[in-house]
Amino acid sequence: MSLGLYFMRVKCLLRNMEGIFWCYIFPIILSTCLYLGVSKLGAVEEFETIKIAYVVGEAQTELSKEAGTAVSQEQAELSHEVGTAVGHNELLSVMKAAKLSEDKYMFDITLCSSKEAVDLLEKGDIEAYIIGGDRPELFIKENGLNETIVKSFVDSYMQKQITIKNILVSNPEALNNGLIDDLIGQTDFVDISDKHKKPDNIIIYFYAILAYTCIFASNWGLEEVINIEADQSMRGARISASPVSKMRLFACNMLASYTCHIISVILLFLYMKFVLNVKFGDELAYLIAICLAGSLTGLLMGASIGFWIKKKPAIKEAIIIAFSLGCSFLSGMMAVEIKYYVTEKFPLLAYINPVNLITDAMYSLYYFDGHNRYFINLMLLMLMAAVFTVASYFGIRRRNHDSI
């Protein structure tokens, strides 16, 4: 097929405002919104120091008030006495030492009597209070994030305490080998539960936008069918009446569509990487490769639907949009949990969902060292592309139509 027809088709596609908007502009807007939303979200979710009260065991009130002021960070960081380490005031020390970040403590602790603590909680000056002792008790008023953090902290502490006791019973030597350091020095409590997870989820959304852009190629594939089939458009009738091999012209036009589409994906990728500074990791070539495969699969999928669903063009367009949105939804574009749910409960659905294959391949690049999972996804995607190629081939071979 002549190069001229290819370039003419490229020209056509690049001048089609609708296609350009949805493929070139819209994903950029979407990712920008996501970026802005996330940075705002991050600001809100930045953890604040939590105000709590600590009631030292009633019998030792006087003593512990003193002790409370005397408890220092050093003490918490490394206790030197077994008694202190597992004793009931140790929780207080640990809580005092816990940090959200370098210069931010996790808890702002007021030492007081249980009466005062009840008052403070009632007034809302504190979020929780703890009555110390062998089995510290936690009192909260509402159920919120901060309350949950305090509770998890205390629970976790108790857990560890039991562990230490058990270890010491069976192996008293352990204490000298930094056991307490290992177990109680858990100042990165929040870090573990939160900081790592957050960027993960966000990058999944960027992956989802990339994957959606890839699968949007299905619209372009469908347009190529509408453009060439006599029963789909007047242009199609004119082309069908001309002395060109439809198979070859279609291949040429699909190539043009593919060219224009992958440019949009690559531009989006560059925008995310260099303008939004999304941390995609080092394996960019793999990432781009999966995008190229995804775009091809999308294009051919759209073509197959175009050839084999016997409906008016407008209905086919609606089907394609619904289908690609559905795939994106199931792959966790709106909420990552859906992706996990589908993968767990309906693994087959996850394996035949091209958007999921794309995001999963990207995801596996980010999280796993090996490339096995990546290649499984890539192979499945290419397999789908092959199936759709065959479907398109037989679609176009049907030559003439029952009606126009």
Binding site: S2, K11, A237, R238, S245, R399, H401
Partner: protein, 310 residues
């Protein structure tokens, strides 16, 4: 014979769109396919071009059977569909260039032909316009230019003048005549009898997917009994006189309503003189008088019992 369609049958479920349609088009003709909306003209064209499947019949073009991949036949056909078929994203020039390059490989030749086609439809000033900036008439002319740029031997036009202003319409009809004069054979479908009468050298009238009459316009008019239609303005005409007029030789229909007397007579001479003579003798005062020769509408009316345009 350039186009030979025999016994073409096309059904859409229960609806028979083409009912053993026969068409023979000779080289050099402007062949008119005249029929009301829904009579099967477009369906016939789509079958001839192998765009749709048909149930029965055979189609030969340039003496060879027409098939979807009969590229050597298609190369010499130009089509202008009843709806405009162009790319919105391409300019006038690019559209013509694109469609022409589907037929001709040589780039320089395509460029030359594109220029010629633009000139042919007098759209030099609009070469860089996008289709959505063009008026209906100009759009039709672009549609035609896209179909004829490659200088086909056979040009098929399906109602190219629907929704076109009179000026553009005349330009289009002139253009078709010119293409024919340059050697192209033309198949022209329309439901406007005036157009068909004006340009076609041979006409097939179709109704319900069947050819009901075929020939030159003179032959078609000779087929029917009507020879002349005489209309008179009259303020009063007693029943008695109407009945007497009906007795005249050659006159087979006399109708009087809303002050108009319409008399249809068979072919023959002096019909008008006899009638005027009768009016004078009976002291019937009349206003304007005019006579008309039969039109293709009358042919259609007489054969099918209904008007061409509903």
């Amino acid at each position: 014979m350039l186009v030979n369609v025999k016994g073409l049958v096309k059904r859409y479920d229960k609806l028979v769109a083409l009912d053993y349609l026969d068409l023979q088009v000779e080289e050099g003709e402007i062949f008119g396919l005249l029929g009301p909306n829904g009579s099967g003209k477009t369906t016939a064209i789509n079958c001839i071009l192998s765009l749709i499947r048909y149930d029965k019949g055979s189609i030969e073009i340039f003496g060879k059977p027409m098939k979807p991949n009969a590229y050597d036949i298609k190369r010499n056909i130009g089509i202008i569909m009843q709806n405009v078929a162009v790319f919105e994203e391409l300019t006038v020039y690019e559209n013509i260039y694109y469609f022409c390059s589907l037929y001709i490989k040589d780039k320089i030749e395509v460029k030359r032909l594109t220029r010629e086609a633009i000139e042919f439809v007098s759209m030099e000033d609009y070469a860089d316009f996008y289709p959505k900036k063009l008026s209906g008439g100009l759009l039709r002319r672009l549609n035609i230019a896209c179909g004829i740029a490659h200088k086909p031997k056979l040009i098929i036009l399906d109602e190219p003048t629907v929704a076109v202003d009179p000026q553009s319409r005349n330009k289009i009809l002139e253009g078709i005549k010119k293409l024919n004069a340059e050697g192209a054979t033309i198949i022209y479908t329309s439901h406007y009898m005036e157009e068909v009468e004006q340009i076609c050298s041979k006409i097939a009238i179709i109704d319900k997917g069947r050819v009901i009459a075929q020939g030159t316009k003179e032959e078609l008019k000779a087929m029917i009994s009507l020879g002349e239609k005489i209309t008179m303005e009259l303020y009063e005409l007693p029943e008695k006189n109407i009945n007497e007029l009906k007795e005249f030789p050659g006159i087979y229909s006399v109708e009087y309503h809303e002050n108009l007397l319409e008399i249809k007579s068979a072919k023959g001479r002096n019909n008008l003189i006899h009638i005027l003579d009768y009016m004078a003798k009976n002291n019937i005062i009349f206003g304007k008088v005019y006579t008309e020769l039969p039109t293709l509408n009358d042919v259609f009316l007489e054969i099918t019992g209904k008007e061409l345009r509903d």
